[in-house]
Amino acid sequence: MANLDDLYREIILDHYRSPRNRGELVEATSRTEGFNPLCGDELVIYLIVRDGVLEDIKLTGHGCSISQASSSMMSSAVKGKRLEDVRHVIDRFKTMMTLHDDGTADAPAPEPDLRSDGELAALAGVVKFPVRIKCATLAWNTLAQALDEATA
């Protein structure tokens, strides 16, 4: 039986209660919306991308604790990074959230140079609750789309 503590880790609840990088960016170079029509989650990501660097990121929207915490942790993890590093983090996160056909998931690869790696690993428990995976990935899919648009 999947334990609720695997899902609602303290660091996740902390990000839910005190989300980082909330708000709009007036000088944003891109604004991208993400939706989860089944649960009604909505997210807007504002980015400032300059010279191949994600200089700033802010988020607005609403959703469950998992989607809100995931987007907050994501914003901390990617802010100030070079775009290729941002894409790398996105890929790693999406791999962590991938459930194989046999129901097993990949453990997150340790990567000590990522400042927020420990925090992101807290979301690994979400894969034990398959219906919640889409809550955790909404922000990341939206960010990937935002980067595609920003660099198109």
Binding site: M1, L4, L7, Y8, L13, Y16, R17, L38, C39, G40, D41, E42, H62, G63, C64, S65, I66, Q68, F129, R132, C135
Partner: protein, 411 residues
């Protein structure tokens, strides 16, 4: 509590033997789908084991038996809702949603002209909104909404003005989000006074209170077998016989024709005109058993019992969980069914439902296919608990315990 015994229903319902997360299942999602009692399951099993054959075709023994079962279900469900002539009034569909699509695509497309108005309410399920918007896009009809008041009841002060130019007033007997029961006969009479027809969404009410389409004086009624202890995959569309006879077929194919030539076809008479292809025969057998079972319980008794439980639930939710739980629906049990949409301050409905699952409690998070209503109250979603004839006071106690745990977890 009344003489009705929900424990008997519980014993009859196999799903209640399930254990979820080491706790007995607490099923509070009957507004999504009710749990079938053993007689319903056995009726379908008996049909497949002893009688299965296609209907309306064969001359052999079991084919006739299958036809009798299927047509018997049409008759029995018709009598169950007070239909004067089920053989000419009941159409079997896939679900309530398909029943409304049949109404819109057949009656609506044949009758409505550009500028004609269909009046619905703000508390409708998408099934009674989207088909009308589809006709709006294709045929230029107008879709109008009766607003919902802050006390979660229909605002009928401007009903006469809203009914001007209306050809059909289509509304729910009971909201699947709020639990509000609407004054069906009064609304039908208002529609008729303005020369409009009236369609009733009875999906949420039919398994919980007596239904009499004659007393309602309705023209169309839509509901589903699986919300009245029956199986999934079977919806019911009732129409006044004269209206149904004038409606053109909606789906074409086998079973719905009187004749087919190389230059065209002639549709069959009666309800089978709308039942193209092999119909859900086993499900009809299940529905028939559900009707018999509910009749045995007595819908008056079920209604009285659920009303008492609703009063208790409203009391518990108002006092037993602090002030952070808001019921999005009428605060008193008058003209109200056992549906409780909960807004828990600081805890998203999805998270509420997740914590409740740890206690074996089944509730539904989301917008409940009623986004205009959710928007009206500034909500994206609620966590909805709902009652059935098998619900017990102890279910409500576990619900309260689990809600307190959710509130505690999220601080």
């Amino acid at each position: 509590m009344s003489s009705f015994d929900p424990r008997r229903v519980r014993i009859d319902t196999p799903v209640f033997s399930r254990v979820i997360n080491d706790r007995p299942i607490v099923y509070l999602d009957s507004a999504s789908s009710t749990l079938p009692p053993r007689p319903v399951i056995e009726a379908m099993d008996r049909y497949y084991s002893g009688h299965h054959a296609n209907v309306h075709r064969g001359v052999y023994q079991t084919a006739n038996e299958a036809t009798d079962i299927y047509e018997g279900a049409r008759r029995d469900v018709g009598h169950f809702i007070g239909a004067p002539d089920p053989r000419h009034e009941i159409v079997f569909t896939k679900n309530t949603t398909e029943s409304f699509n049949l109404l819109a695509r057949s009656w609506g497309a044949a009758t409505l002209r550009p500028g004609d108005v269909v009046l619905v309410t703000e508390m409708e399920h998408h099934a009674n909104i989207v088909p009308w918007f589809q006709l709006q896009a294709e045929r230029g009809i107008e879709v109008r909404f009766v607003p919902v008041r802050d006390d979660f009841r229909l605002d009928l002060t401007d009903l006469d003005r809203l009914l001007a130019g209306v050809k059909l007033f289509s509304f729910t007997a009971m909201s699947n989000v709020l639990g509000t029961r609407n004054p069906v006969a009064e609304l039908v009479a208002a529609a008729h006074a303005h020369g409009a027809l009236a369609a009733v969404d009875a999906a949420q009410s039919v398994g919980h209170q007596p239904t009499d389409v004659g007393a309602w004086d309705a023209d169309f009624v839509c509901f589903s077998a699986h919300k009245m202890l029956g199986p999934t995959g079977l919806g019911i569309f009732w129409a006044r016989a004269d209206l149904l006879e004038a409606m053109p077929p909606f789906l074409g194919g086998g079973g719905m024709i009187a004749d087919v030539r190389t230059d065209g076809f002639v549709p069959a008479h009666g309800p089978t005109r709308f039942e193209a292809g092999t119909p859900p025969i086993a499900e009809a057998a299940g529905l028939r058993a559900a009707v018999r079972y509910l009749t045995g319980l007595g819908l008056d008794e079920v209604s009285r019992y659920e009303h008492e439980l609703t009063e208790l639930a409203l009391e518990l939710l108002a006092s037993g969980v602090g002030d952070r739980v808001r019921v999005i629906g009428p605060a008193d049990a008058v003209d109200r069914g056992g549906v409780f949409s909960l807004d828990v301050e600081g805890v998203h409905p999805h998270d509420v439902a997740q914590v409740l699952d740890q206690f074996g409690v089944c509730v539904r998070p989301g917008h409940h296919c009623a986004k205009p209503l959710m928007r009206r109250f500034g909500l994206a979603a609620t966590a909805r608990a709902s009652l059935g004839p098998y619900s017990l006071r102890s279910d409500l106690d576990v619900l309260v315990e689990a809600l307190l745990a959710a509130i505690k977890l999220f601080g």
